[in-house]
Amino acid sequence: MADVAEAAEQILVSTVEAPHDTPADWTPNVLAFACHYCAFAAADLAGVMRLSYSPSVKIIRLPCTGKLDHIHILSAFEKGVDGVFAAG
């Protein structure tokens, strides 16, 4: 867990993307691809436990993350999504 946090620290400034200003009306738009049996269930449990977290994440349920296709991810970015994660 600590490693993930450190990694998050390190990428404060992107080396890939050009610097830019963030418009005031922007909010992060994140898509999650979640395996029905693992991550989707974990997301359910987070709700059952009434844990509060960012509302920026919307979930697309997959039967298994092995189903996840490259084009799903690229399409999401092409449409303007700010971040994508897969969880399984």
Binding site: L51, K67, I71
Partner: protein, 1016 residues
């Protein structure tokens, strides 16, 4: 009961206890034509397993595995779950029992309750949670754990403010909170009477109360916890949310000690038996703790490391080498708390007797199992005999049968065991009941009558959207009216409404009515998670004549209102997004046909040993014709060389009985001297050609290929006349060659086991040594027996015989694998030199007989048979089951099952258990005239496919195959719908029904649509 009637057997079964073993039995039975009544003391089913964090040796999450099973059992049309219930009397005989069950008041009406949990939020009374082992709290109205089944809360009458007020006037807050009006303070409970053909006892065991061992300080020193408490500490949903911390000060402990055998293997303050699982769970806990917090330094204090199961030794080696877990042989005498710090001083005697003191931050007591405190009364209620320890009396040859006909036993109540053995026994008891009640199969089960399906093909989508308030669970955070308004204009949506509880019976009727009135051809319900409610709603729309796959569930509760409380505006916006995504998917939904395939109700069993014959008899008694293929010229297998069990029963007599029974059974065809030549097919429809020329058509296969004994090359075997194997010694004793006075027998353990390249325990050799040692001593007390061992693994109730051997004067000397005994011939004797760790010096011993405890190997045909049926072998050459924990007799491909030594080394009782389990699992398949295939499968478009074989190589279920025309085809019957093929196919020839690419892309579009700034 009339003696004249042909069959008075009932087609229903009572299962007492709803843990994983009971659930397995229930599902197997209910899936194969029997009505099941499950009686459970707790307010939820689940048993012990639901309390565990992860499981050994795979590290799988316990809840992930058991939760779908609980949901399935809870929803099953032919399983009635009676919680908070206990059996009070049993009358009648096998085939026709009359049982009285007392159901305690729940104070919540299950028919009205929707499980929303509003009541629990409002309840002002907090009490320590027994589920969290008092490390956390729950309310007086509660559910045992978040995934509880049934999902109906219960009021704890001893804690409830209202129920403890004589006028019942105080509090009543839950009653006010419940919009469904489900609270009933006047609930008196009830008594019900059940009429069943058979009874299965799976009540489990309770944990030893380690407070009895005062010197260890549980309950006295806060940072001494029991292993089950530690399990809750590790659990991500436990009281500390998976953070390893000390109860006293929430500090992260560094030095953590586990003390083994607390409450086990101890005649004085505790129980004499071995609890079988503690060595492994301590290893698991130390590994998981280390994974949660890499600073932790675990030490396990143990007497003997009993890693006897499949891949257990490898797990312990990994703990040592990869996780740095320290294993210390010791007897712990006392624990004292350091005043002020909460640290603990532990006093222990090391193996050589030296006394040590060591400081730890936290100590975990590995507590064992014991029968429930009311075990005696329990046994009396069911009229079964018990052992002096109050376990039910069973025989190694019939491990699930009690003294009363028709009453069976399964799970840890039968004897301590781990999860896969419990699951295995669950299926095995199911198999036994199927055989007993064969003619009554299907007499009491019900099937739902459904209206014909409306043909909606080619129609434009007419989507109906129902947005659920869930009392106030959703509506207090999400503005339902806004959601309804936002969805109205979505293309394809023709009707939108809101509902208070979509899942309540009256609203279900309303949904069905609306489908008809509005002529809807697709339905989206925005409420809770599909994981618990999708099937319910699918059934609802099916009852209204719609194909059940024309449905989608938008989760705006678990994944929206519950986790964004207080942020009403953003939560509403997100809910709108979620519903729009569902609508986008729904628009592209098509009715799916659930194909069915016929079943040949016959079974092929490969291997005619104890496993094969036991399974054959059980299946033939169930009424299914069976073919046994045996490579040898006669039946019997490896057990032909075994004379007695550890308990002293005559194995040869048992074998003779079995062979005769098999030969006489009209339903069994035996093919001796034959092997499988060629095979083809899939579940329900296999075709196998044998070398004797016969062709068998069968619906299921059991691989019972068995094992062989290792032929030693070490310790002068084959060179010295003084060196024997245990099997040879057993034969000599059976043939009447008695040990002479003064004769010395030295036995060496782990010959050909627990060492690379055979890094696994053969499980039977410790018992063989103890059995033969006892026999020698009993035949002639003047003969001397010494056993040179690494760990004596007389697990479970076998521990008694280890003690008996010691009492008879058998001497046990431990050795280490890097300091093995050395053997040399000296005249007509052999000299054995070995290091004695207790005396700390080398011993030189002369022996008349050196007896080698040789390990087991899979039968040489395992590979060939495995390749033929396309099932995997593990690196040790044993068959690899579908799931190490929950599918211990299945293969990943349906219709194939495993039993006996081909799966892993095991004792006769365990082989019988697994064989019965295979018969139970096969019975489920064979009892169906046709098998239904799920609609959610991958569809293969052959015209797009260029047979690149990517799918063939990655599919875990072997459903893509190279067809006769040399091109890839797809067997949809084997497909489980995971979509790995669709992910890898470079030609996009695979699409998973209801998860098609166009549907996922439409959902992505919908997810983006409502966000500001993005225009497309």
């Amino acid at each position: 009961m009339s003696l004249l009637s042909n069959s008075t057997k009932r087609g229903s079964v009572l299962i007492v206890g709803g843990g994983i073993g009971g659930m397995q039995a229930a599902l197997d039975l209910a899936d194969s034509g029997f009505k099941v009544h499950m009686v459970q003391r707790d307010p939820s089913i689940g048993g012990t397993m639901v309390m565990l964090d992860k499981t050994f040796p795979t590290g799988d999450c316990a809840m992930c595995m058991i939760s779908p099973k609980m949901v399935e059992a809870g929803r099953h049309l032919n399983i009635d779950v009676h919680t908070l219930a206990e059996v009070i009397s049993v009358e009648g005989d096998a085939g026709d029992f009359r049982v009285k069950v007392k159901v305690a008041p729940r104070f919540v009406d299950a028919d009205k309750c929707t499980g929303c949990g509003d009541c629990e939020v409002k309840c002002p009374k907090k009490v320590p949670s027994n589920f969290d082992q008092k490390l956390g709290q729950r309310k007086a109205i509660y559910s045992l754990f978040p995934q509880a089944v049934p999902n109906t809360r219960a009021i704890d009458s001893s804690q409830c403010i209202c129920l403890n007020d004589p006028d019942k006037k105080r509090c009543r807050l839950c009653e006010k909170a419940c919009k469904a009006g489900a609270i009933n303070y006047e609930d008196k409970g009830k008594e019900i009477e059940l009429n069943v053909g058979s009874i299965i006892l799976s009540p489990g065991l309770e944990l030893y109360d380690a407070r009895v061992r005062q010197e260890l300080g549980l309950g006295r020193w806060q940072n001494v916890v029991s292993s089950i408490q530690f399990e809750r500490i590790l659990s991500a949903s436990g009281p500390y949310k998976g953070v390893v911390q000390r109860p006293s000060d929430q500090k992260h402990p560094v030095k953590v000690a586990w003390i083994q055998c607390v409450g086990s293997r101890d005649n004085r303050n505790a129980n004499p038996w071995c609890s079988s699982v503690c060595c492994m769970y301590a290893t698991k806990q130390s590994i998981i703790a280390k994974e949660h917090d890499k600073n932790i330094e675990p030490t396990i204090f143990f007497m003997e490391m009993r890693a006897f199961g499949k891949d257990f030794d490898k797990y312990v080696e990994r703990a040592k080498n990869e996780y740095g877990v320290r294993y210390q042989r010791a007897m712990v005498s006392a624990i004292r708390e350091e005043p002020g710090t909460g640290n603990l001083f532990m006093k222990y005697a090391a193996e050589d007797g030296s006394l040590m003191t060591e400081k730890f931050d936290m100590v975990v007591l590995s507590v064992g199992f014991q029968p429930h405190c009311d075990a005696e009364a329990f046994a009396k209620t069911f009229g079964i005999e018990t052992t002096p320890y109050l376990f039910p009396k069973t025989s190694p040859f019939a491990p699930v049968r009690t003294s009363r006909e028709g009453v069976f036993v399964t799970g840890i109540y039968q004897g301590p065991k781990d999860i896969p053995e419990t699951v295995m026994q669950g299926s095995s008891v199911a198999g036994s009941v199927m055989a007993l009640l064969a003619e009554a199969r299907g007499t009491e089960t019900i099937e739902k009558e459904l209206p014909p399906e409306k043909d909606v093909a080619g129609e434009a989508p007419r989507i109906g959207v129902f947005v659920c308030h869930c009392g106030t669970n959703i509506s207090s955070t999400v503005n339902i009216d806004e959601v309804v308004a936002a969805v109205k204009d979505q293309p394809g949506v023709t009707y939108v409404t809101n509902t208070i509880y979509a899942c309540a019976q009256d609203n279900q009727d309303m949904i069905k009515q609306t489908i008809k009135e509005q002529n809807l051809n697709r339905v989206v319900i925005a409420s809770c998670t599909p994981r618990t409610h999708e099937k319910l709603f699918q059934e609802t729309i099916r009852e209204a004549g719609l194909n059940k796959y024309l449905f989608d569930l938008a989760d705006i509760r678990e994944q929206c209102s519950w986790c964004h409380k207080g942020q009403n505006e953003v939560a509403t916006k997100k809910a709108i997004g979620i519903v729009k995504m569902s609508v986008a998917k729904s628009r592209l939904q098509e009715p799916l046909k659930s194909e069915t395939v016929g079943v040949t109700p016959e079974c092929l069993i490969i291997g005619g040993g104890i496993a094969g014959m036991t399974a054959a008899l059980s299946l033939a008694d169930q009424g299914f014709p069976v073919h046994i293929v045996e490579k040898d010229s006669e039946l019997g297998g490896l057990v032909k060389g075994v004379y007695r069990t550890l308990e002293g029963l005559d194995v040869q007599e048992f074998l003779k009985d079995r062979i005769e029974a098999v030969k006489e059974h009209p339903g069994i065809t035996v093919h001796t001297g034959a092997e499988v030549k060629q095979t083809d097919g899939f579940v329900g429809n296999f075709k196998t050609l044998l070398t004797d020329g016969s062709a068998v058509e069968h619906g299921a296969v059991i691989l019972a290929t068995g094992g062989i004994e290792y032929q030693p090359t070490e310790y002068l075997y084959g060179q010295s006349p003084n060196v024997l194997t245990q099997r040879q010694l057993e034969k000599r004793i059976a043939e009447g060659e008695n040990p002479k006075a003064g004769e010395r027998y030295i036995m060496v353990q782990c010959v050909g086991s627990r060492e690379e390249p055979n890094q696994y325990c053969s499980r039977v050799c410790c018992q063989d040594a103890v059995k033969n040692a006892i026999a020698v001593k009993q035949l002639n007390p003047e003969a001397e027996v010494m056993i040179i061992y690494r760990d004596i693994r007389t697990y479970g109730l076998r521990e008694d015989f280890y003690k008996q051997a010691r009492d008879l004067g058998v001497i046990f000397i431990r050795y280490d694998v890097d300091r093995k005994p050395e053997v040399a011939q000296s005249g007509n004797k052999v000299t054995v030199r070995t290091w004695d760790y207790m005396l700390n010096r080398e011993l030189s011993l002369e022996a008349d007989w050196l007896v080698l405890s040789t390990g087991l190997r899979p039968h040489p045909t395992t590979d060939q048979v495995g390749a033929m049926y396309k099932v995997t072998r593990n690196p040790d050459g044993y068959f690899l089951e579908a799931h190490v924990k929950l599918r211990p007799v299945d293969f990943p491909s349906e219709g194939l099952f495993v039993a006996g030594l081909g799966h892993a080394p095991k004792n006769i009782d365990e082989t019988v258990t697994q064989a019965l389990a295979a018969s139970g699992r096969a019975g489920v398949v064979l009892s169906h005239k046709r098998l239904a295939v799920s609609g959610i499968i991958a569809k293969h478009k052959r015209e797009l496919c260029m047979s690149c074989l990517s799918c063939l190589r990655v599919c875990p279920f072997g459903s893509p195959y190279i067809a006769e025309d040399g091109k890839i085809s797809h067997n949809e019957i084997k497909c489980m719908g995971c979509g790995i093929c669709a992910g890898i196919c470079p030609a996009k020839a695979f699409q998973v029904n209801n998860f098609r690419d166009d549907q996922i892309l439409a959902m992505i579009d919908a997810a983006v649509e409502s966000e500001p700034g993005v225009l497309n």
